[in-house]
Amino acid sequence: MDIKDIKELMMMLVETDITELNLESNGTKIVIKKGFSGAVQPVVTVTPTAVPVAAPKAEGAEIKPPALEKHAEETERVLGPNQMYIQAEIVGTFYRAPAPGEDPFVTAGQTVEPGQTLCIIEAMKVMNEIECPVRAKILEVLVADAQPVEYGQPLFFVEKL
C-alpha cells in the first residue's frame, strides 16, 4: 500500500458517505463505517422516515390506510447473485392466469424463457401480457391474483439462469 493507494482511499471517503476506515495490513483487519460518526454536526433528529407522518387518526375519522404501500418492504431483501425482481411497468390489476379458473401462467420453481408470458396486467380494460425479459427460474410470485399493482411494484422474485 503506497501513498497513491491511501490517497485513493481518502478520496473515497470524501466522495461517499463512508466516515471511517481502519485497516491493518498483514493480519488483514478492516473496519469501515458509514453514516454519522462521533463528532457530527448539529443535527435535528426526526422520526425514521424524516418525513412528517400522518397523525394517528382519532376515533370517528374512518380512514383507510394507504392501499398499495406495503410492497416497499419487498425491495428491502438482500438480493443474491443473479437474483432480481420483475416489476410492474404499468398500474393495473394483476392476473396470474389467462382467464378465471385456468392454470396460472407460471408458478414458483418453474423455469421460464425470454418472451414467455408471466402474467397479465389489466389497465383501462386492456389485458397487457407481461413477458419475461430473461431466462429465469421463478423463486416467488409476490402478488396475489386479481390484486392491484402500482408502478415499480415487484411482481416476481426470480433467478437469472
Binding site: 435535528v44 426526526v46 422516515t49 424524516a50 418525513v51 412528517p52 407522518v53 400522518a54 380512514i63 383507510k64 394507504p66 392501499a67 398499495l68 404501500e69 404499468i90 398500474v91 393495473g92 390489476t93 389489466e122 389497465a123 383501462m124 392491484p148 402500482e150 408502478y151 415499480g152 411494484q153
Partner: protein
C-alpha cells in the same frame, strides 16, 4: 356527493385539493412518481399509488396509468389541479368514457378555449372586446404585412397553441416582420408541435387583469372579483393581488359581466378564469380563458371568503351554486407571493435541491400553501415553486406591510429562493402606489442591476 377523489397532481396544489376533500369528508387517492416518494401530498392522502418514473410524461402525464389507478382504487372523480393534464381535452374524454367525473369543464369546451385564436374569434363574435389582429393563424407574409399596416405598429406575433412566452415576438417596424414571424413559427413548432402563429396589436404597459368565474351545471354563474397578475417575468406570474389596485367598482362590474357573457357563450361549467389585458386608458381586451383552477386562486378566496376548490368539487357533484352574484362581497385586500427555488442573483435560474431547514411564517392574515418541509427535496423534474405566501389586510397598505413582515419571517435554508426579490417588489415605491404593468418586473430587475 363523491365518496373518493383521485388527485391527479403533485406538490402544493395536490395538497390544496386533498385539504378541500378532507374538509368535505371525501377520501383521496394521491398519485406520485418515483422521484416524489417523500412528497407531502401522498402522506396527507388516504391512499397513494406510484404511477411511473420521475419524468412527467411517464408518470403525471401518463393517462393509462392514471385511469388505471382511478379504476383500481374505485374513485368517483378526478381533480386535475393545474398544469399536467388539467387542460387536456383528451384526458377529459377518457375520464368520461370510464364513468369518472372530471372536475372541470366539458372536453369540448376545454378544447374550444384551448385554441387561443379560435377562442378569441368566438369571444369577439359574442361581443367581448378583443385586441385588433388576425382572425386566425397567419397564412402568408403578404397578409401579415397588410394587417400590420392596418392595425399599426407595434404588433405582436404569438403561437396559436401554448403560452408562457415561447413563440412570441414584438415587431416595431415592417422590415423586422418577416424574420419575427419565422422565428416565432420555429419556436412554436419546437415548443408545441404546431407552427401556427397569429398577430395582434401590441399594447404598451398593459396590465394583466383576470376574472374568476364559477358556473354550476344548472346554468348559474358568478364572478368573484378580479386579480391583478401584471407582475410577471418572462410571462411567469410572480406576485398577484385582489382586488386590482385602482380598479373602480364600475370597471370591475364591466369586466365581471364580460367574463360571465364569454363563459356563458361556450356553456362553461366549473371554475374558470378569463384573462383580460387592460391598457392605460382602462380599455380591456379578452386575452384567453384558463379552464382550470389557477395558482393564484387563494387571493380571491381571501377577499371573498369562498373556498374555490370546494366549490369546484361541489359543482362537479351536481350541486347548485350556494350564492348569487349580489351576495358576493369583496372584503379587504390579498396579495400572493410565489416563493420559487430560483436564484434572483443568477437570472432566476431554477435551483433544485434539498431544503435543509424550513420555517413558514404565521400570525394574523397569513396563509401558506406549500408542500415543503425541513428535509424536502425540490426536484429538478418539476416546477420550482416552494410555497405560495398569501397576506390579507383590511387595505392594500396593510396587506403589503403584513407580507413584508411574513417574508422576513420565512426561513428557507439550503437552496436559494425569491424571498428577497419579493421584498424588493414590496418596497418599490411604484408598486406601493399601485403603478403596475407587465413591464414592472423587467424594469425592477434592470434597476437593481444598475445599482
Amino acid at each position: 356527493m363523491f365518496r373518493k377523489i383521485l388527485v391527479a397532481n403533485r406538490g402544493e396544489i395536490a395538497l390544496r385539493v386533498i385539504r378541500a376533500c378532507k374538509e368535505l369528508g371525501i377520501s383521496t387517492v394521491a398519485i406520485y412518481s418515483e422521484a416524489d416518494r417523500d412528497s407531502l401530498h401522498l402522506r396527507y392522502a388516504d391512499e397513494a399509488v406510484c404511477v411511473g418514473p420521475a419524468s412527467p410524461s411517464k408518470s403525471y402525464l401518463n393517462i393509462i396509468n392514471l385511469i388505471s389507478t382511478a379504476t383500481i382504487t374505485g374513485v368517483d372523480a378526478i381533480h386535475p389541479g393545474y398544469g399536467f393534464l388539467a387542460e387536456n381535452p383528451r384526458f377529459v374524454e377518457i375520464c368520461e368514457t370510464h364513468n369518472i367525473k372530471f372536475i372541470g369543464p366539458a372536453a369540448q369546451v376545454m378544447e374550444m378555449m384551448g385554441d387561443k385564436a379560435r377562442a378569441k374569434k368566438l369571444m369577439k363574435e359574442h361581443g367581448l372586446p378583443v385586441i385588433p389582429g388576425s382572425d386566425g393563424p397567419l397564412t402568408s407574409l403578404e397578409e401579415a404585412t397588410r394587417l400590420a399596416r392596418e392595425i399599426g405598429y407595434p404588433v405582436i406575433i404569438k403561437a396559436a397553441a401554448g403560452g408562457g412566452g415561447r413563440g412570441m415576438r414584438v415587431v416595431y417596424e415592417e422590415e423586422k416582420l418577416k424574420q419575427a414571424i419565422q422565428t416565432a413559427q420555429a419556436e412554436a413548432e419546437t415548443s408545441f408541435g404546431q407552427p401556427e402563429v397569429y398577430m395582434e396589436k401590441y399594447i404598451e404597459n398593459p396590465r394583466h387583469i383576470e376574472i374568476q368565474v364559477l358556473f354550476d351545471e344548472h346554468g348559474n354563474g358568478v364572478y368573484l372579483g378580479e386579480r391583478d397578475c401584471s407582475l410577471q417575468r418572462r410571462h411567469q406570474k410572480i406576485l398577484e393581488e385582489s382586488p386590482a389596485p385602482g380598479i373602480t367598482p364600475e370597471l370591475r362590474r364591466a369586466l365581471g359581466e364580460a367574463a360571465l357573457k364569454g363563459a356563458r357563450a361556450v356553456g362553461y361549467t366549473n371554475a374558470g378564469t378569463i384573462e383580460f389585458l387592460l391598457d392605460e386608458n382602462n380599455q380591456f381586451y379578452f386575452m384567453e380563458m384558463n379552464t382550470r383552477i389557477q395558482v393564484e386562486h387563494p387571493v380571491t378566496e381571501m377577499v371573498t371568503g369562498i373556498d374555490l376548490v370546494k366549490q369546484q368539487i361541489l359543482i362537479a357533484a351536481g350541486e347548485k351554486l350556494p350564492f348569487r352574484q349580489e351576495e358576493i362581497k369583496l372584503s379587504g385586500h390579498a396579495i400572493e407571493c410565489r416563493i420559487n427555488a430560483e436564484d434572483p442573483e443568477k437570472n432566476f435560474i431554477p435551483h433544485p435541491g434539498k431544503i435543509e431547514f424550513y420555517h413558514a411564517p404565521g400570525g394574523p392574515g397569513i396563509r401558506v400553501d406549500s408542500a415543503a418541509y425541513s428535509g424536502a427535496e425540490i426536484s429538478p423534474y418539476y416546477d420550482s415553486m416552494i410555497a405560495k405566501l398569501i397576506a390579507w389586510g383590511e387595505t392594500r397598505d396593510v396587506a403589503i406591510a403584513r407580507m413584508i413582515r411574513a417574508l422576513e419571517e420565512f426561513e428557507i435554508i439550503g437552496i436559494p429562493s425569491t424571498i428577497l426579490f419579493h421584498l424588493e417588489i414590496l418596497y418599490d415605491s411604484a408598486f406601493r402606489k399601485g403603478k403596475v404593468s407587465t413591464n414592472f418586473i423587467n424594469n425592477l430587475i434592470n434597476e437593481l442591476h444598475s445599482e
